[in-house]
Subunit: 415 residues, 2 copies
């Protein structure tokens, strides 16, 4: 069952026993080298929030496009209000009204005012707004009870965004307010990185589809729905047509269906039912098989038909861990998002010692109790419930034997 | 244009000049009192990630439901391998094969073994697994090169989840791995808090629909698309049929369309075109009108037809700020999410002084430059681009005049 390695494959990949395991850092380098090219698409304004710009956006308009009133009141020539106070009221003739979107046709000449609402264009001739609180008006006249400097309560053309300015840059993950700014400069759609299409290939004759009840020696597929949620979180588009029978022809056919990334869950190890590594080595390139970490050491990856392929272990904790370390990193990169984990980190002291083994990285699930980090007493990769009881995980690097109690460690918080 | 206050309305609401402004804390108390009741719905497994459980979930099955092999190898009676080593190989007869989902019909009697794969049910009689690496097998015989204790490499029934255990509790925002756990215990759907339906009512005769180019004295609606993104982020379902003409009948009709929350953007102040507060006071209850904060002081809120109503200022920065402080809090609460802002906070020193006014809370946009906090030199609430240039905001409470340079402040990071 040794792999037939394709001739252009440079790495010494051993199919049995994972004789040469890659380090996590070596795998990250490989992933980062494979995810340089991204594709982009035009997306309409209403769907832009959370997407990542694939090009700078400049404004070809001024915002506002006209001088506008910033208060309700009276548009005047500031010099006409000079010296006005509660004890020295000055009277101006009202010659028109300006509403937002409805400019006054009248020009403001000396001794005149236009009634104006917030957001309305300033009428010709006026250079300041007397707020309503500083004025008493009748139908055709207004008494001004205070003076203003020229420009007071006037929003100037282009003061928010000047025509020609680069408003948002490539790589920006669009915030709700960014979408508002794009609307304000007249953008109807924008170029963003495409969501990578991620095909999930779950194999295993013992598996029942998610939503079933477990019966006899059959277990329910939990990796499929978990991977769908992870892929969506990381900006990918999951494609999951259902469980694939555990024979080479079915697995190969499922791996070759169109996608940008293929994730195979299960059958990634070296056992007799583990077809995926052999298929990838025969029909593509198996670049990594075996990683110096626990759990997830049987992880593999490579390329087939221009598509990135990740072979994740079937054990659900290993599947989650290998997704977050490897497949998720690639998907986030292709989506234009930061490659790092989408988890917050906190630094807190260990409540108990955390044991690890030199030579492999450890992914330790932990709980936070009274601001101290409690490693969960669970070594198995099969117990997914450990990741729901945990608040997050601590990564112990390859060169560490672990940490004694009291040492501050970085906890990545599950979200 | 003074409001006609409905008789059952307890608060002294002044429509002109906001004579009695509420504090932010008073408003939060009111919101929290109005968002106690939430509704729930059944949602299928594939759509559960990110939703919030409205009831505890217990398992009525054991996971695994049977003792299973945790390694590829041979299922044996541990006592039969006692004393085995590389130099003292013990030979057992292979009497069957167990695959995942395919139990072996054979029982393991003394001197016998069953070839077994990871995940396969343990055959009757066997109590341990000899890993493949510790065995050399031919067709009908296997040489054992090491000994194991009873239970070794066997996953026991219920070791992941025991039947009857509460697996996840009400209020839990479901992580990807939680969805996996729910699948593994046979859950097909779960009861989660309903997404509140949030109707957006944007008024303003000067407004063009988002996606248009600004022309003349018309400006493009930026609050509508921004609010849609904010509502989705906070677990709500935005309903936004488009800009509403700025007359009382149209605004009232739009406010009365079915929803759990109505957000009116624009026309919330005391000016002549500001219909919404009057309509809410006349046809429902206007509980708050005017908040001691900057920006967003013209914010109002109340109830109409069993629906929470928020009157947000039309100025886009005020609209964003008032949404995050008030409407977003209500929507998050109704969706079962934490009421607090969905922003990360960091504590960093101020690069320059940050000036505020005693008696009102200030929402100051800031940039982080070289790990120091730079307040943006922008006071206007009209410049939405200030919230795209900013990295986040600092809240200066009512009783503070601001902070001198060097003081550490909490920055809420826009996401």
């Amino acid at each position: 069952m040794d792999a037939e390695i394709s001739p252009h494959h440079p790495t010494d990949v051993r199919m049995r026993g994972f004789a040469s395991r890659a380090t996590v850092n070596q795998v990250w380098q490989w992933i980062d080298g494979e995810t340089g090219r991204t594709s982009s698409e035009m997306v309409v304004l209403a769907d832009l929030a959370g997407r990542v710009l694939a090009a700078d956006i400049s404004s070809d308009v001024d915002v506002p496009a006209f001088d506008r009133a910033m208060m309700d009141g009276f548009a005047v020539r500031a010099e006409d209000a000079s010296g006005a106070s509660a004890y020295n009221r000055l009277t101006l003739a009202i010659v028109g009204e300006a509403l937002a979107g409805q400019p006054s046709p009248s020009k403001v000449c000396p001794g005149q005012a236009v009634r104006i609402m917030t957001g309305a264009p300033m009428p010709e001739g006026a250079d300041a707004v007397i707020p309503a609180e500083m004025a008493q008006s009748e139908l055709r006249e207004v008494s001004i009870m205070g003076q203003v400097t020229p420009g007071k309560h006037v929003g100037r053309i282009g003061e928010d965004i000047r025509c020609g300015t680069t408003v948002l840059r490539e790589g920006r993950r669009l915030r709700p307010q960014d979408v508002g700014v794009l609307a304000s400069i007249g953008v109807a759609q924008a170029k963003v990185f495409s969501k990578p299409r991620v095909r999930i290939v779950v194999t295993g004759n013992e598996l029942l589809p998610a939503g079933s009840r477990p019966i006899g020696s059959q277990v329910v597929d939990c990796n499929g729905p978990m991977l769908m949620a992870l892929i969506r979180r990381d900006g990918g588009l999951p494609i999951y047509p259902g469980i694939v029978p555990d024979d080479p022809a079915s697995v190969l056919s499922a791996m070759r269906d169109p996608a940008d990334v293929v994730i195979v869950s299960g059958g990634s190890s070296v056992g007799q039912e583990d077809h995926a590594p052999t298929l990838l080595a025969q029909h593509g390139r198996l670049e990594v098989h075996g990683v110096a970490m626990r759990p997830s050491s049987p992880t593999g990856m490579g390329r087939m038909d221009q598509c990135l392929v990740f072979l994740l272990p079937g054990n659900p904790v290993s599947c989650l861990c290998a997704y977050d370390f490897f497949a998720g990193r690639a998907i986030r990169a292709l989506a234009g998002l930061p490659r790092r984990w989408p988890y917050q980190a906190v630094r807190l002291p260990l409540a108990r010692k955390l044991v690890s083994t030199v030579g492999r990285l450890d992914y330790a699930r932990v709980k936070i109790v009274d601001d101290r980090v409690e490693p969960l007493a669970i070594s198995g990769a099969s117990m997914l419930s450990s990741t729901t009881r945990a608040d997050g995980f601590v990564v112990v690097p390859e060169d560490s034997e672990g940490y004694p109690p009291g040492v501050e460690v970085e906890v990545w918080l599950y979200d």
